[in-house]
């Protein structure tokens, strides 16, 4: 199969490194990306006409961002790059793509999914109010558009991104009202042995925290979120929470950035029939792959955060490694030293990932404690009480059945921001472990399509 048609979906760190490695081996891949420019979310490029330099935009990651962009610029003309293109469905050997109102199919022999991740959300009473944004969204506002999501912003949730984005906001001159982390300090200390797998990254994290304290930003650990305050016309007006010592406190703000680490975009792998696995450490489903990124379906591969949430550095290794796996499967010679090097680097990053999961755990207990009146599905305003009734009164203890009854997961976001919390609510109501209630199946189209689409020849 010297002329294998190889398609990579996603031009972030994993997709670009994968394309680069394949090109070096003489394979010219098609690289499809939904964004207009390469870099993914983490190394997203600012629009033409913006003038901030790499250090301002990417901070300590500036050199990595620049290196990835330069690598892409070198290979752009040599590969078949298709930006601004959504893969909305697939069948064996064929992708359905839409770009600027035109639909075309793309045939493949091998498919490498580098589809990335989105924020992982846990609802809170009032999170549907205008002015609540995902944490990653708050970062994109700053990085891509040089704006703050509000005049006074609260950062709430858990995970390293919380501190990174809050400190980026401080540095850019935005007013940060508070950083509210649900994880207590004690878990961070317990996770230290694992976090020391990457001492440099750990040190960077400590420096971010120090920057926030130096800027006199109120940082609270071990909090319990209670409510985003505000009303339907004005939107967000503040946040109410319980402090680590059990006191109820309120912070005034007109914007909230909310997030609990990331969840992988697995819809295309799911539609391809790839097996999924439940990750105990982060308490979520993702694509089951071998160490190199082969899924359970022959010819379908996955790398980066879309396969396993390990961050951008791991995504670069995983992108190169998955390319080597494909080359091996195509009977091409592969340097075993190169392959082993990436695998060893990823093993270290895996250890660090487990440390992060321990230090900043997914707050499943919040779903159990969510008041009946709180909205779970912010697309269609469906409350925790309505979802619990589908379990208690209709016996829907499996998420897809509960979705059919309640519509939680059927709205605009197609479950991206409610499915994880919804599963926790269902599991708690049914009195079972969350992995026993299943996971929402991927559905085509994986994102909404316009009715005005013209079909064109492949």
């Amino acid at each position: 199969m010297a002329t294998a048609r190889v398609v990579i979906v996603g031009a972030g760190p994993a997709g670009v490194r994968c394309a680069e490695t394949l090109l070096a081996a003489g394979i010219k891949p098609i690289l499809i990306d939904e964004n207009r420019r390469d870099g993914g979310q983490i190394y997203r490029r600012q629009p033409e006409g913006f003038t901030r330099d790499y250090a301002t935009l990417y901070g300590r990651e500036a050199a990595k961002a620049q290196d990835l962009h330069q690598s892409f610029d070198r290979l752009r003309e040599a590969i078949d790059y298709r930006p601004d293109t959504l893969v909305w469905n697939l069948t064996p050997g064929q992708l359905c793509c839409v770009s600027q109102g035109r639909h075309r199919t793309v045939d493949y022999d091998a498919l490498i999914l580098c589809t990335g991740a989105t924020d992982r959300l846990m609802p809170i009473e009032g999170w549907h109010l205008a002015g609540t944004y995902s944490l990653g969204g708050a970062q994109i506002a700053l990085k891509n558009q040089a704006v703050s999501i509000g005049h006074r912003v609260v950062f709430m949730g858990s995970g390293p991104l919380l501190y990174l984005v809050a400190s980026q906001y401080v540095k850019a001159g935005a007013e940060v009202a508070a950083v509210l982390d649900t994880s207590p300090l004690s878990l961070r200390l317990k996770a230290l042995p694992k976090l020391l797998a990457r001492p440099g990254v750990l040190f960077t994290g400590i420096k971010l925290l120090a920057q926030l304290y130096r800027a006199k930003v109120a940082v609270h650990l071990g909090i319990k979120p209670l409510q985003v305050l505000g009303d339907a016309s004005q939107g967000v007006m503040g946040v109410r929470f319980t402090t680590g010592s059990g006191r109820t406190a309120t912070v005034q703000a007109d914007a909230v950035a909310l997030g609990y680490h990331l969840r992988p975009e697995t819809q295309l792998g799911d539609l391809a029939g790839c097996a999924m696995a439940f990750d105990q450490a982060s308490s979520q489903w993702w694509l089951a792959t071998d160490d190199a990124g082969r899924t359970s379906v022959k010819g379908v591969y996955a790398a980066g955060d879309g396969a396993k949430i390990r961050g951008a550095d791991a995504a670069e290794h995983a992108g190169r490694l998955v390319a080597l796996a494909l080359l091996e499967d195509l009977q091409q010679p592969v340097s075993s030293a190169l392959r082993d090097g990436h695998q060893q680097a990823l093993a270290v990053m895996d250890q660090f990932r487990l440390g992060l999961a321990q230090a900043f755990p997914w707050p499943s207990e919040q779903a159990k404690a969510l008041p009946d009146s709180a909205i779970v599905c912010r697309c269609e305003m469906i409350s925790a009480g309505e979802l619990r009734r589908t379990v208690n009164e209709k016996g829907a203890c499996e998420v897809n059945r509960a979705k059919a009854f309640s519509r939680v997961g059927m709205g605009r976001c197609q479950g991206r921001y409610c499915a994880h919390a919804g599963a926790e609510v269902i599991a708690a109501a049914a009195g079972v472990q969350v992995q026993e209630v299943g996971r929402q199946r991927g559905q085509a189209p994986v994102k909404p399509l316009s009715m005005l689409i013209e079909e064109v020849a492949p």
């Binding site: 944004y133 850019a172 939107g235 975009e265 976001c413």
Partner: protein, 102 residues
């Protein structure tokens, strides 16, 4: 306070003129529609399920919370479409609407 988003840098770009719900506004070249609208107002659209206003959520094309419409009825995702001179945007859904929750 008349806007939700606050510009922190990159304000030397050329101006772009567009219309939002019949009123002229000025934005900057390279702005997403979301930034153009939310530096002037506090919301992008009316929720079709409750009385609340919506102002987007994810900014990465995943949540679909930031839809607005052109006068001609074309739907645009405000976080991933850039402003253009002469755009005529409406923030109310042109299709049929249903009774609200509760």
């Amino acid at each position: 306070m008349n806007g939700r988003f606050v510009r922190l840098a990159e304000q030397g770009r050329p101006a772009v003129s567009l219309t939002v719900d019949g009123a002229p506004i000025q934005a900057l070249q390279g702005d997403t529609l979301m930034v153009a609208l939310l530096t002037h107002g506090t919301a992008l659209r009316q929720s079709e399920f409750d009385s609340g206003r919506r102002a987007g959520f994810c900014l990465m094309g995943a949540c679909q919370d930031c839809w607005v419409w052109t006068r001609a009825g074309e739907r645009l995702r405000a976080c991933s479409n850039e402003v253009r001179d002469g755009l005529d945007i409406v923030t109310t859904q042109p299709e049929a609407t249903w009774p609200l929750h509760g």
